[in-house]
C-alpha cells in the first residue's frame, strides 16, 4: 500500500530558510542544509525547497545550496520558485532536484509544462497552483498569490495535467496562514478533476488537520506545510504516529 506523504516546505531567501525557529539539537535553524537533513532524519517523505530570492546572486546561492542538500539528503527533492523556462528546469535538475515545481511560469508561458514534460517526463513536472475564491469561483492567482489571473482554476489545472504535469500542489490562499485546517472543498474539487497525485497545501494548524484531510479525502496523496513544522508545533514522527493510529498508511 502506498503511503500518504508528509512534506515540509522550506522557503529560501538569500541562502537562508525563512521562518525557521527553535529546534532542539539544531545549531542553525536557518541553514537549508541542516534543516533539510533534520527533516529527512525525522520522517519527512519528501522536501520542497522554494527559492523566493529575487536577485541573480541569490539565485546562484540557491543552486549552490541545492547541490549541497542533494549531496547529503537521499529522499525526493522538489524545487520551485523562479522557474520560467526550460533552462531553469535544467539548472535545478543538474543540482540534484528530482521534481520541478512551476507556478507563475506556467501561467506566463502556457507551453512550459508541455515542453518540460516532453523533455524530462511527466513525473518531473509539478504544477503548483495558488487558488482563491472570487465571486463564487475558484480562481488561479499569480505572483505569489498577489495577482488574480481571472482564470477559473479547475479547468486550468486540468489543462496543465493534460499537458503533462505529473503532480499538483494545491495552495489554498483562502486557508493559507489561518491554521484552521486544509481547504477540503477546494481539494475535493481538484482531486475529482485530475487523476495525478494531489498535494494539499495551506491551512494546516495541527496534526489532527492531517488526519481530517486524509480521512475526508482519501484521494489526496500528501500534505505539505511549512511553519507548523518549522516552529515545532507539529513534529513529523508524532504526526505519523497519529495518522497510523487512525489507519492512514504512513512510512514510519
Amino acid at each position: 500500500m502506498i503511503t500518504k506523504r508528509i512534506i515540509p516546505c522550506l522557503d529560501v531567501r538569500n541562502g537562508r530558510v525563512v521562518k525557521g525557529t527553535n529546534f532542539q539539537g539544531l545549531q542553525d535553524v536557518s541553514s537549508p542544509v541542516e534543516l533539510g537533513k533534520f527533516y529527512s532524519d525525522n520522517g519527512a517523505d519528501e522536501l520542497v525547497f522554494y527559492d523566493i530570492t529575487a536577485s541573480a546572486e541569490g539565485r546562484k546561492l540557491f543552486t549552490d545550496i541545492l547541490t549541497e542538500v542533494a549531496s547529503t539528503i537521499f529522499i525526493p527533492l522538489t524545487v520551485g520558485g523562479g522557474i520560467n523556462t526550460l533552462e531553469d528546469f535544467d539548472r535545478v535538475l543538474k543540482c540534484g532536484a528530482d521534481k520541478v515545481s512551476v507556478n507563475s511560469g506556467a501561467i506566463r508561458d502556457p507551453d512550459l509544462v508541455r515542453s518540460a514534460a516532453r523533455l524530462y517526463g511527466d513525473q518531473c513536472v509539478v504544477l503548483s497552483a495558488d487558488v482563491k475564491r472570487v465571486d463564487g469561483q475558484f480562481r488561479v492567482f499569480a505572483k505569489g498569490g498577489r495577482e488574480d489571473t481571472g482564470m477559473e482554476a479547475i479547468g486550468w489545472i486540468k489543462r496543465c495535467v493534460a499537458n503533462g504535469a505529473g503532480e499538483v500542489v494545491l495552495n489554498s490562499i483562502d486557508t493559507d496562514g489561518v491554521k484552521g485546517g486544509f481547504d477540503l472543498p477546494m481539494l475535493e474539487a481538484v482531486s475529482d478533476a485530475v487523476d495525478v497525485p494531489v498535494i494539499a497545501s495551506g491551512g494546516a494548524g495541527s496534526a489532527e488537520d492531517f488526519v481530517t484531510l486524509f480521512q475526508t479525502l482519501p484521494k489526496v496523496d500528501a500534505g505539505l506545510a511549512a511553519s507548523i513544522f518549522h516552529f515545532g508545533q507539529v513534529k513529523i514522527p508524532e504526526l505519523k504516529g497519529l495518522l497510523k493510529e487512525n489507519n492512514i498508511p504512513v512510512r514510519l
Binding site: 500500500m1 502506498i2 503511503t3 537521499f74 525526493p76 543538474k94 487523476d195 496523496d221
Partner: protein
C-alpha cells in the same frame, strides 16, 4: 569501484552522491573501455523504454553490458535500468530489451484495480521473496516512480510491492540485480541496499 553507465538518459547526480555517501568510489562514463575497469556496473535510467533501448544499442553499450554480465560482473539496473534487463517491453509498442532476464515489461494501465493513480509514485513497502540484496528488508519502505512494471519474471523475482496487485519491486539472478524503486532516493534503507551491492 563502481561504474555508472552514461548513455544519455537520466539524472545521475543523486546516484553519484549516494555512492559518495556510502564511501564508494564511483564514476560516470559512456566509454566501454573505462567502464570495463569497474568492479561493478550500475545501469540507471528514466524516461521512455524505446528511447533508452535505442540509445543503449546505438552507443554500443547494449553489447558491452551483455558481455560484462556474461563475464560475471555484478550489474544493478535501477528503475528503467531494471526494466531494460528484460527481454522486451510493451511500452507504446513492443521493444527489445537487453534480454539478460526472462520476463517482459507491461503498462499498469488496465491492470490495476480502479481508483489507483498512475504513475505509482511514492513510498511503498517491500515484500522480499528471495535473493541476497534485499534480505531482511521486508516491510521497509522505498521510493517508486513508474507507470510500467515487469511481469512473468518468476525466475528472477526477489521482491514485490503491493499496489492493488503485486508489482515487481526487485529482481536478482546470479550477478544481475534490478530495483524498480530508486535506492538513491529511499533514505537510509536505499543507502543500505547500495552499500550491500558495492560489497558483492
Amino acid at each position: 569501484m563502481t561504474g555508472i553507465i552514461d548513455y544519455g538518459v537520466g539524472n545521475l547526480f543523486s546516484l553519484c552522491s549516494s555512492c559518495a555517501c556510502i564511501g564508494e568510489k564511483a564514476f560516470v562514463s559512456g566509454d566501454p573501455a573505462e567502464l570495463a575497469k569497474a568492479d561493478r556496473l550500475v545501469l540507471p535510467g528514466v524516461g521512455a523504454f524505446a528511447d533508452a533501448a535505442n540509445k543503449l544499442r546505438d552507443t554500443g553499450m547494449a553489447a558491452f553490458v551483455r558481455a560484462q554480465a556474461a563475464e560475471g560482473k555484478p550489474l544493478l539496473g535501477i528503475c528503467l535500468g531494471m526494466q531494460l534487463l528484460f527481454e522486451k517491453s510493451y511500452e507504446y509498442g513492443c521493444h527489445e530489451g537487453l534480454g539478460l532476464l526472462k520476463g517482459q515489461v507491461v503498462p499498469m494501465e488496465g491492470r490495476l484495480p480502479a481508483g489507483l493513480k498512475i504513475p505509482h509514485m511514492g513510498w511503498n513497502a517491500l515484500e522480499v521473496k528471495g535473493g541476497t540484496l534485499l534480505a531482511g528488508l521486508s516491510g521497509q519502505y522505498v521510493y517508486f516512480v513508474h507507470s510500467f512494471f515487469a511481469e512473468n519474471c518468476a525466475e528472477s523475482l526477489s521482491a514485490v510491492t503491493e499496489y492493488g496487485i503485486p508489482i515487481t519491486a526487485a529482481v536478482e539472478r546470479g550477478n544481475i540485480y534490478g530495483c524498480q524503486f530508486h535506492p538513491e532516493k529511499s533514505g537510509n534503507v536505499g543507502l543500505s541496499i547500495l552499500r550491500k551491492f558495492v560489497r558483492i
